[in-house]
């Protein structure tokens, strides 16, 4: 059975189903991270004191640059498909995957440094919300990498069968990835700088 409106737009919404679907999913993600940001605010205003200087700002800034770079390469991966440049698409998608991996490597060193000193989520309210927020964000990075890995690997076959549907899937992956970047854009100043 053919799934309708994977490429052609629905007459009522003017959108392909996947586009509306991914935006509705991102709406639910806004609720998820919104609830945690709300938690952060309540914990912070109720605390006697809030630590500063516990996190490595330069590592956080480097990770911000890495994620912004990966957003650029992700949109270029989609744009290359729209211009029928398959080799460039592959290069940009692999680069996005590599930058995501680099972000996680930095996160590993950051977490390991804290845990080596016994500074886990149990250590303080600040570290509890830090590990919760960045840990959940990290899980989202892994999820994005799994999807990218699929489209670099077995999922790439769809380009030969239905180019527009494949381009749409890459676009939806990009929307998810830009959202992950957007969350970090707020996480970095809130946790590392303020």
């Amino acid at each position: 059975m053919e799934i309708p409106y994977t490429v052609e737009e629905r007459p009522d919404t003017g959108l392909a189903n996947g586009k509306l679907g991914i935006w509705l999913f991102l709406a639910s993600e806004v609720m998820l991270f919104g609830a945690l940001f709300s938690t952060y605010i309540i914990l912070r205003v109720g605390a006697a004191e809030w630590p500063h200087g516990e996190l490595n700002v330069w590592l956080g800034m480097a990770n911000t640059f890495i994620l912004i770079g990966s957003s650029v390469t992700m949109v270029m991966a989609w744009a290359s498909l729209k211009m029928n440049q398959w080799a460039k698409h592959r290069m940009y998608l692999i680069l996005t995957f590599a930058l995501a991996a680099l972000f996680l490597v930095n996160k590993y060193f950051e977490y390991a440094d804290h845990l080596r000193r016994g500074e886990g989520p149990w250590h303080s309210t600040f570290l509890a919300i830090y590990f919760t927020l960045t840990g959940l964000h990290g899980i989202h990075i892994v999820g994005g990498m799994i999807v990218m890995g699929y489209f670099i690997g077995p999922g790439a076959k769809l380009w030969k069968k239905n180019q527009e549907q494949f381009a749409n899937r890459i676009e939806y992956t990009g929307l998810y990835w830009h959202f992950v970047d957007l969350v970090w854009i707020f996480l970095f100043p809130v946790l590392y700088l303020l």
Binding site: L20, W23, S38, I42, G46, H178
Partner: protein
């Protein structure tokens, strides 16, 4: 399809410029942090810069500036839901903002006793 490829080709430069702008704004955020502003001002400036960066990602990379009504409608509902989610828990503690929570008060008292 040909015209869509042309349209996307014209957008490449915009993507690169927005990417560069995001790098610059990140550097500005860190630079402002080195100035050690008063906390309310620091929070305001940081959120304005983060909001600007987020808007650029949403409008350009996520193509939100040229989307259909259904997406805007879904996002409008999301904003309402987000505001409720952010502020309703705050309402439960609003009468206590500025005063310490019980555990924080106990910890502060213990610290004071320990200091004497």
């Amino acid at each position: 399809m040909h015209s869509e490829a042309d349209h996307v080709k014209k957008s490449i430069r915009t993507y690169m410029m927005i990417g560069a702008a995001l790098f610059v704004f990140t550097a500005i955020t860190v630079a402002v942090n080195q100035v050690h502003l008063a906390v309310p001002l620091a929070i305001t400036v940081a959120l304005i810069i983060a909001g600007t960066k987020g808007s650029m990602v949403a409008a350009v990379f996520m193509h939100l500036s040229q989307e259909k009504k259904w997406i805007y409608g879904a996002l409008a509902l999301t904003v309402v839901g987000f505001i409720i989610l952010l502020f309703v828990p705050l309402f439960t503690v609003l009468d206590g903002i500025g005063t310490l929570s019980e555990p924080a008060r106990a910890a502060a008292e213990q610290a004071t006793r320990g200091g004497h």
